[in-house]
């Protein structure tokens, strides 16, 4: 019987050897198209980055578009022109900060020696700047499988105390920074479905375990500093972000089929001619925690 189990274990291990191999494959090349990404918030400067699509297997960052006219609009009025950075071509910014409850969009005019499909006037879909609830505090706590919230691996975690704005449908995006370094390719989104108006960290809802465990071995003398920024985002933007995240790797048996990721940018004269990217309108708050061993 023991031999039988040993053979079985060996074979079971073999079965689980599903594998991934990097392969070379030819893919078709599409037209070069416009990509617009940017953000206006109630706390930070407004920015827009103009770039183009590139062949899929091309290396590095994609080409940028310089010399465009980028304007920020509040309601039906043009508020300001964004100026292009001299050190970072294609990056346009303004010191203007948005106000809660106001509606914003951008207009982008592209002329010059760029691919035909990128030329012309493009606009973002107007969106309201939503209030973001305060991120009351970040606290350090020891978590394990018996605590609330639970943790699979015992250690020191950062807990976020945060209350949802009641009676409205809210979507939140969390951005984390550890020692001033943002987490690479991280999109964290949650909404208040079923927990409208709940406070996480009081009553039946525990605080949200937002980071951990802190890695003591790698810290040395300098203690980790965690910063968490919460953005109140629109349903469209959270859908876009979700799609960006899911489409960055599609192919397992239980994945949805590959989808075209289109945001809220379209040609001014034709709402159904889309450019890629997204100009987001967000309310935001942030807080920080310094780890104590």
């Amino acid at each position: 019987m023991k031999t039988f189990i040993q053979i079985s274990l060996f074979i079971f291990a073999l079965v689980l050897t599903s594998c991934q191999d990097i392969v070379e494959i030819d893919v078709p090349a599409g037209d070069t198209e416009l990509v617009v990404s940017g953000q206006i918030s109630d706390k930070d400067s407004t920015y827009v980055l103009l770039s183009t699509t590139a062949p899929y297997f091309s290396e590095g960052e994609t080409s940028v578009i310089s010399g465009a006219r980028v304007s920020l609009w509040e309601g039906g009025s043009e508020l300001s022109l964004l100026s292009e950075s001299s050190s970072k071509p294609g990056y346009y910014s303004s010191d203007f900060k948005g106000s809660i409850g106001k509606i914003y969009h951008i207009e982008v005019d592209i002329t010059g020696d760029y691919p035909n499909k990128t030329l012309g006037t493009w606009v973002s879909k107007a969106d309201t700047l939503r209030a973001c609830p305060p991120l009351d505090s970040l606290k350090q706590a020891t978590l394990n499988r018996t605590t609330t919230p639970r943790a699979f691996e015992e250690g020191e975690f950062a807990l976020m105390f945060f209350g949802d704005i009641p009676n409205t449908k809210n979507y939140y995006r969390v951005k984390r920074t550890l020692n001033d370094s943002a987490f690479a390719r991280e999109i964290i989104i949650f909404d208040d479905f079923g927990v409208d108006g709940a406070y996480f960290g009081g009553g039946i809802f525990p605080p949200i375990s937002i980071f951990g465990p802190f890695d003591e071995e790698k810290m040395g003398e300098e203690k980790d500093t965690l910063t968490v920024r919460v953005e109140s985002v629109s349903n469209d933007f959270q859908s876009f972000l979700t799609l960006v995240s899911s489409q960055s790797q599609v192919g397992s048996p239980f994945d949805a089929p590959p989808a075209l990721v289109v945001g809220n940018i379209h040609r001014k004269e034709n709402e159904r001619e889309y450019a890629f990217g997204y100009f987001s309108v967000v309310g935001t708050n942030s807080n920080g925690l310094r780890y104590k061993p």
Partner: protein
């Protein structure tokens, strides 16, 4: 319609006229050892060239002029029985057939050969003998009926580890899978690695790809009719096995000899036991297993009445430590009552309950806990009649009703939430007649009429554009009381004509053709390459229309070498309407407004199927080849809602070439060998045409859906079965099966996906470079060993 009614009345008039001139020879055909009724046994009168075959309950009925006849009773795998009958009055005769014993020196061919595939009007049918299936090589030694069926023409899966299967270009939700007449909503265990059918408990399985009889309805592309064993009513016996993945045991025996019997079969996998042996707690504390239980009772009340009570209960359980759990499974029960109103009128009343439930969530004792549960339940009533007018004319008719209760999602625990429950009723009536005209023509024509009612209680949302609901265009809602009709599909679209014809060129050759229209009122809401256990069916209603398909098929069938070989070539064309597809990035989990995620499209599939089989001898097996093409089309004025810019695109399960070669060789009296070889064109995937940068992401640009193919798939499996001679003094005997799956360890691609490469170690900036990655489910050779026993 009028033509069909005229034919029906013609048949009935003829019957009335001739009733006094004919005597009826009827009864059941059973296995001599177990008393099991045998399905599809030929009962023929060779001198007249007339005959019939037993129905799904083993019943036959032949009406003939008075006289003395020689009767031949033939069934694959059984010794042909020949007898003389004196038919001066109606004669009831239950016939017992004995299994062929497999002896090497008994490879001779009996005088009568089976030509059912040529003579029967049925076409586009896939059928395997369970005994043959058990000898075939199988993944981890798990005998798998569904996987074996995919080795026949026109049936395929999207790849290894895929839930469900595809039949002639149909999606996986277009297969009606019946276990003792109870629908099965998820036919897979372990995310698609194995099917839920325990081969020990199965008596018969038949898959209709086309020419679907009118008694079946509710799905577009196929019907898989699986019949469980009734139970040995002669003596107590058992069957079982110990394999690497699971063990199984079947017990059956008489409750009252020749009167009533039981069958109970259980199977459980033990991957979790192996996981527990791991020294790593991250693995050892996980749970992963499945089990199923098949049960059946049958009771012969009298010569005219018989009861069957069947049950199935299966479950998959997957738990990650004590943090998260996930389980799913089918439950079904069916009660059937056969009643003979006369020697010519056979009836069956069926009541069915079936349930598919999945559940996932945290541990119940967690302070903040939740559990999401989703369920579909059916309650069926079916009443069917078979009227045997004479040996050339048979009528079948019946009525069926299905009441659906669907619970799309309910969250319990620290948070209580529930999506609206849905209710629906699907009544249908059907009729068909099989008529032999002269010696060459056999016709089977029928009509099914189905309708569908989406019922309250429910709050139905209204949209400014009801043809394309959008959550931003919600303009109110409407309340419906319990039982109130929300949407009715009860027009002429519910007519489903069925027609098959067989022109017999001579004893060994025939040409067949068929047409069928089928309609499907419930859709599997699934947007993944292969369905997952958390996908659930939703009913047609205000915003989701029923799907339909029209299929025509024609084929040439020939047997040669005294029916030891059969060959067939079939061609088909299918035209699909109202196929469900989804918006980009559709969110299908716990979505209250699922209608805003759904798009509707059309489809077409056509192909050619070739099948060559050697039935008998030391070397037996088959070669099958399918050449096919399946395309879908979703058009819309908005380019974001049109898939592939509104042009035709290949279905992701489309495979142009599909070849299977299956051989079995009786090496010695103790050893037999098996081999499967499969070759398939790589399935279609969507390539990126470019990429753009957003934040730190390289985002692929996908426009042309499914325009690229992954590498072709091929695999060789081998098996050897060792069966020691039986000791006549011992009831217990055992056998060993050894198998090798994926003999040459090919890393067959399941998919190729495109991803952003990780930044090199130590890099401070993200990498925007991309790469193509091939995913293979199995990367190596997989041996297996199974010990089987009987007593």
């Amino acid at each position: 319609m009028r033509f069909l009614l005229n034919l029906l009345f013609l048949g009935l008039s003829f019957q009335a006229f001739s009733q006094n001139l004919l005597h009826t020879y009827s009864g059941y055909v059973r296995d001599s050892k177990t008393g099991e009724e045998l399905i599809g046994v030929n009962v023929v009168i060779p001198n007249l060239g007339e005959g019939t075959s037993t129905n799904l309950y083993g019943f036959y009925s032949l009406s003939l002029k008075p006289g003395i006849y020689e009767v031949s009773v033939q069934y694959i795998g059984y010794q042909t029985k020949t007898m003389k009958i004196d038919l001066n009055t109606d004669l009831k005769m239950n016939i017992e057939l004995s299994e062929n014993t497999t002896e090497l020196d008994e490879v001779t061919v009996t005088a009568e050969k089976l030509d059912q595939n040529v003579s029967s009007v049925e076409m586009s049918v896939a059928q395997l003998d369970i005994k043959d299936v058990k000898k075939m090589p199988a993944l981890l030694g798990e005998v798998d009926i569904i996987r074996s069926l995919t080795l026949l023409p026109g049936i395929s899966t999207i790849g290894e580890a895929s839930n469900g299967f595809n039949v002639r270009g149909g999606n996986t939700d277009q297969n009606l899978i019946l276990l003792d007449e109870a629908p099965v909503y998820n036919s897979s265990h372990l995310f698609g690695f194995f099917s839920i059918f325990n081969a020990d408990a199965v008596k018969d399985v038949k898959l209709y790809k086309g020419g679907i009889p009118s008694r079946y309805g509710g799905r577009l592309s196929s019907v898989v009719d699986v019949r469980q064993k009734d139970g040995n009513n002669k003596e107590f016996s058992g069957t079982g096995g110990v394999g690497l993945l699971s063990s199984r045991l079947l017990l059956e025996g008489p409750i009252q000899k020749d009167k009533s019997a039981f069958m109970v079969a259980a199977r459980r996998s033990y991957a979790d036991i192996f996981l527990a042996l791991s020294p790593d707690p991250a693995i050892s504390e996980n749970t992963l297993y499945f089990y199923d239980l098949n049960t059946k009772l049958n009771y012969i009340i009298s010569d005219k009445d018989r009861l069957y009570l069947s049950g199935y209960f299966g479950r998959d359980v997957f738990e990650i430590n004590d943090l998260f759990g996930f389980d799913w499974g089918n439950t079904s029960a069916s009660l059937r009552w056969n009643h003979l109103f006369s020697d010519r009128l056979f009836s069956n009343f069926t009541l069915v309950f079936t349930d598919y439930t999945y559940s996932l969530g945290t541990a119940d004792d967690a302070e903040f806990n939740f559990r999401l549960q989703s369920t579909i339940q059916d309650y069926h009533f079916k009443n069917q009649y078979n009227y045997y007018i004479n040996s050339k004319n048979e009528i079948e008719f019946g009525v069926e009703g299905i009441y659906y209760r669907m619970k799309p999602g309910q969250i319990t625990g620290s948070v209580e939430l529930e999506l609206q429950r849905e209710y629906a009723f699907e009544p249908s009536i059907y009729f068909s007649q099989e008529l032999e005209l002269g010696t060459r023509w056999t016709l089977q024509y029928g009509l099914r009429y189905s309708s569908f009612y989406n019922l309250g209680a429910q709050t139905v949302r209204n949209y400014s554009n009801p043809d394309l609901p959008n959550s931003e265009e919600l303009i109110g809602s409407q309340e419906y009381e319990a039982g109130e009709i929300i949407e009715a599909y009860n027009g002429l679209e519910g007519l489903e004509p069925r027609f098959s014809a067989n022109y017999r060129i001579d004893d060994e050759r025939s040409i067949k053709a068929s047409y069928n229209r089928t309609r499907q009122y419930i859709h599997l809401i699934s947007n993944t390459s292969t369905p997952t256990p958390v996908d659930l069916y939703r009913p047609a209603g205000r915003y989701i229309e029923p799907a339909t398909v029209n299929q025509i098929a024609a084929g040439y069938f020939q047997n040669f070498a005294e029916n030891r070989y059969e060959v067939s070539v079939e061609g088909y064309y299918k035209d699909f309407q109202n196929i469900v597809d989804y918006r980009n990035g559709a969110d299908l989990i716990f979505n209250e407004t699922i209608e805003t995620e759904i798009l509707s499209g059309i489809g077409r599939s056509y192909g050619l199927e070739f099948y060559l089989r050697k039935r008998e001898g030391r070397l037996s097996g088959w070669l099958s080849y399918t050449l096919s093409k399946t395309e879908l089309k979703v058009e819309n004025d908005d380019p974001l809602l049109a898939i592939n810019a509104g042009e035709w695109y290949a279905a992701n399960y489309d495979k142009r070439h599909d070849i299977s070669f299956v051989l079995s060789y009786q090496l010695t009296k103790k050893w037999d060998l098996g081999m499967n070889f499969t070759y398939q064109t790589g399935r279609a995937i969507t390539p990126p045409e470019g990429r753009f940068t957003f934040e730190e992401y390289s985002v692929p640009v996908y426009r042309s859906r499914n325009s690229l193919r992954i590498p072709d798939y091929h695999r060789l499996d081998l098996s050897a079965n060792y069966t020691p001679p039986k000791d006549p003094n011992k009831k217990f005997y055992s056998a060993w099966s050894i198998g090798i799956y994926n003999v040459y360890a090919r890393r067959n691609a399941y998919s190729i996906f495109f991803e952003q490469a990780d930044a090199p170690a130590g890099a401070t900036a993200p990498s925007f470079n991309t790469q193509a990655v091939q995913l293979s489910i199995f990367g190596t050779i997989i041996p297996s060993v199974t010990w089987n026993f009987n007593f």
